[in-house]
């Protein structure tokens, strides 16, 4: 046994070093020559990423050798923890993907063409890392994640969600493929992908509508466990509308940040248009939540449970405060304020998902779950994988080709579903 333990420790140290090495390579590729930064800023960033991935290697190795019981604070009474919550948060955040694609491809709103690629990539990363990635860590038998394909159980929400997520990941692949194909220069295949994009986008919107709401339906079956502040018979509706809100906010956040960090010009109208789109859905969401809470007389729980009441108050405040900015046209017409309003909205929706999957379940299950450091490190690792891949894609793939300025410069680039041509004319 002692030798075995020693080998396991060696394996964990090896994994930590391997991941740290990977981080060094990632930093090397991320650090382009185009934007020289100050030495100290670069070193802090590098050191943080290397330390995080090193810890992550140790955490992953421990999780896969010792099992969930050894690395998480999950119990039989509280079987779903941070990683399942991360799936909910990630998918809510990724809603910007289907929303922007719907507005650009189906509603043919040209304003949104330039931000399509960064947002589709961000959504793609959310689905692969935050949803599938977190599940591969969280599932006890992660190597059987494909099981819903062959073993059907159509009455299960989770079955439906897993199918929707699988299919929607395919849709995102189709939406994302042109970026890679353009880079590879496979223009015939690229044109073929363009030709099939619109039906795929429509399928993607339908799939997203269904699974965004179904993530809420997951909790319909625990009326005795989830606090009435969040349990509602209409929780699927709330999840869907809040996903729309979060989608607009994510689109503002991702496009503003990506275009700013990678120094591409972005039409300020894009952000304000998104903010304008978000406002009615945010108002509708808050209105329905308040009506629902009042109808079920759930407000008393705000005072009955201190932690839950606090968390609920913060959630509602994060979602309400941006309205003051968004409803004042003098402010909402400026992209800086649109960006400032998007951040609390994103945080509010994420807190809502954490409340539903974690904090709201604590009192009735009698547990005091708080994630272990390994759970937190693995979560941060999955997030950082997303950021690093996004950074690499921004550096090495034509991620900002949709932008009208680029299109004007490079008339040789192959048309992207006709948008670039529209933008050019």
């Amino acid at each position: 046994m002692a030798e075995m333990d020693f080998l396991l420790v060696l394996f964990r140290i090896f994994a930590a070093l391997a991941m740290a090495g990977l981080a060094v390579i990632a930093c090397w590729f991320l650090e382009g020559r185009q934007h020289p930064r100050s030495f100290s800023a670069a070193v802090v960033g590098w050191a943080f990423l290397i330390a995080l991935w090193g810890l992550g290697g140790y955490a992953f190795a421990t999780r896969y050798t010792l099992g969930l019981g050894a690395v998480t604070n999950l119990t039989d009474a509280f079987p779903w923890g941070l990683w399942k919550a991360m799936v909910l948060c990630g998918i809510a955040f990724a809603a910007g993907g289907f929303l922007t694609a719907c507005m650009a491809y189906v509603f043919r709103i040209r304003t949104f063409y330039p931000i399509l690629r960064p947002i589709v990539l961000a959504a793609y990363l959310c689905y692969t890392l935050s949803a599938s990635g977190a599940l591969i860590v969280d599932l006890g038998r992660y190597y059987k994640i494909w099981m819903p394909i062959v073993s059907w159980q159509h009455r299960s929400v989770l079955f439906e969600v897993s199918w929707c997520v699988m299919l929607y990941t395919c849709v995102l692949t189709v939406e994302f493929a042109p970026i890679v194909l353009q880079k590879l220069g496979w223009h015939r295949l690229e044109r073929f992908v363009h030709a099939i994009t619109v039906p795929f986008v429509i399928c993607g919107v339908v799939l997203s509508t269904v699974h965004q709401s179904s993530l809420g339906s997951l909790f319909l079956i625990v009326p005795q466990k989830l606090l009435p502040l969040w349990y509602s018979p209409f929780i699927p509706v709330f999840f869907f509308i809040s996903a729309l809100v979060s989608g607009f906010a994510m689109a503002i956040f991702v496009s503003a940040l990506a275009f700013w960090i990678f120094r591409r010009p972005l039409d300020p109208k894009v952000l304000t248009a998104l903010a304008k789109g978000m406002t009615p859905f945010l108002m509708l969401y808050l209105f329905l939540r308040i009506v629902d809470l009042t109808a079920r007389n759930a407000w008393v729980d705000v005072f009955a449970y201190p932690l839950q009441g606090f968390s609920f108050t913060v959630e509602m405040a994060l979602l309400t405060l941006p309205l003051f900015v968004l409803l004042k046209t003098r402010w909402s017409g400026r992209r800086r304020w649109a960006f400032a309003a998007a951040i609390p909205v994103i945080l509010g929706v994420i807190l809502n998902r954490l409340n539903v999957a974690w904090i709201g379940l604590l009192p009735a299950t009698g547990s005091h779950y708080f994630p272990s450091w390994i759970e937190i490190v693995i979560t941060l690792n999955l997030l950082s994988f997303g950021l690093v891949i996004f950074g690499l894609a921004a550096r090495y793939l034509p991620l900002f080709e949709h932008s009208s300025t680029r299109a004007r410069e490079s008339s040789t680039s192959v048309a992207v579903a006709g948008e670039v041509h529209h933008a050019a004319t």
């Binding site: 159509h154 299960s156 619109v198 429509i202 339908v206 339906s217 018979p233």
Partner: protein, 301 residues
């Protein structure tokens, strides 16, 4: 400057064909879902096995607990603990059943030590079976809710959804963690034998039979001694369970959950899930229509 060109997709098949094909596909989906809805409601509760637990006849000997451990291949209870005293006091990964000893206050003064056998309730409409995404939990024709090793992916939704917190997880297994729960001795009942715990009960506190008969029996006992039997648990809770409890002590003092609805829990989910095909068709049509209108406008203008 290039001419604004038609959408490539629109050049290959006409929009009418596109809509037609879309509608055909979506209707196929809807028909499929409706058919499967019909077949899933065909469960026959009258053929389910059931157990009546008459707690007034239980002496707390824990022979049921012992028999269950032995059937699972574990050594039975050590002799010293056999008979009296609360055991672990909870279901664990090893123990599919246990006798909960409840301290119940009496008018005379001293606490009464009331044994309450606990195990999976084998709901008539089990939440765990309905939530499992891979059908790893299923309700057999004999009414037993069993877990299937070959399908489980370890998502632990069954642990979350179970209103009685029955399924237990093998947290420290890194490669093939299992879910353990009472399987109502499905292999034994299939062969015409009694469940191990029922067979071991020396006082007749556990009685096995068909669900309808057991429910009748329970109601008959209550009707015969309505003042004595103040508790009948399992006839309505979460749509009814295969294990029914009779007791002369109020249900909240027995440690059985009292905050559960009387309607079936899977119905809460199904009410929404059944609407999905309509959302798919409706939204698919609307979006196709919007695309058609918008791109026509685009091409005209």
């Amino acid at each position: 400057m290039t001419e604004p060109r038609h959408h490539p997709f629109a050049q290959r098949i006409s929009r009418r064909t596109f809509c037609r094909r879309g509608v055909a596909g979506l209707s196929l989906l809807a028909v499929g879902s409706t058919v499967s809805l019909a077949e899933s409601d065909s469960a026959d509760a009258s053929r389910y096995g059931a157990v009546l637990v008459d707690l007034t006849r239980c002496i707390g000997c824990r022979a049921c607990e012992n028999a269950c451990l032995v059937r699972q291949g574990y050594p039975g209870l050590p002799p010293a603990t056999f008979g009296y005293g609360p055991g672990d006091g909870k279901l664990t990964f090893k123990s599919r059943t246990f006798v909960d000893f409840r301290d119940v206050p009496t008018f005379e003064g001293p606490m009464r030590h009331v044994p309450v056998k606990r195990q999976c309730m084998h709901c008539l409409e089990p939440a765990c079976v309905s939530v499992c995404p891979v059908a790893a939990l299923e309700k057999t024709p004999r009414g037993s809710v069993i877990w299937r090793d070959d399908r489980c992916i370890g998502c632990r939704y069954c642990l979350l959804a179970c209103p009685f917190n029955v399924p237990k997880y093998e947290w420290n297994n890194a490669l093939t963690p299992r879910v353990n729960k009472c399987d109502f001795c499905d292999d034994r009942t299939a062969a015409g034998l009694l469940p191990a715990c029922v067979g071991a009960c020396p006082t007749g506190a556990l009685k096995y039979g068909k669900h309808t008969e057991i429910l009748q029996e329970a109601r008959a006992r209550v009707a015969a001694q309505p003042k004595r039997y103040v508790t009948l648990f399992g006839d309505h809770v979460v749509g009814g369970t295969s294990w029914l409890y009779l007791s002369d002590i109020p249900v909240e003092q027995l440690g059985l959950p009292t905050n559960l609805p009387t309607l079936s829990l899977p119905a809460l989910t199904w009410n929404w899930l059944a609407k999905v095909p309509y959302i798919v068709i409706g939204l698919g049509l609307v979006l196709s229509g919007v695309f058609r209108l918008r791109s026509r406008k685009e091409n005209d203008g």
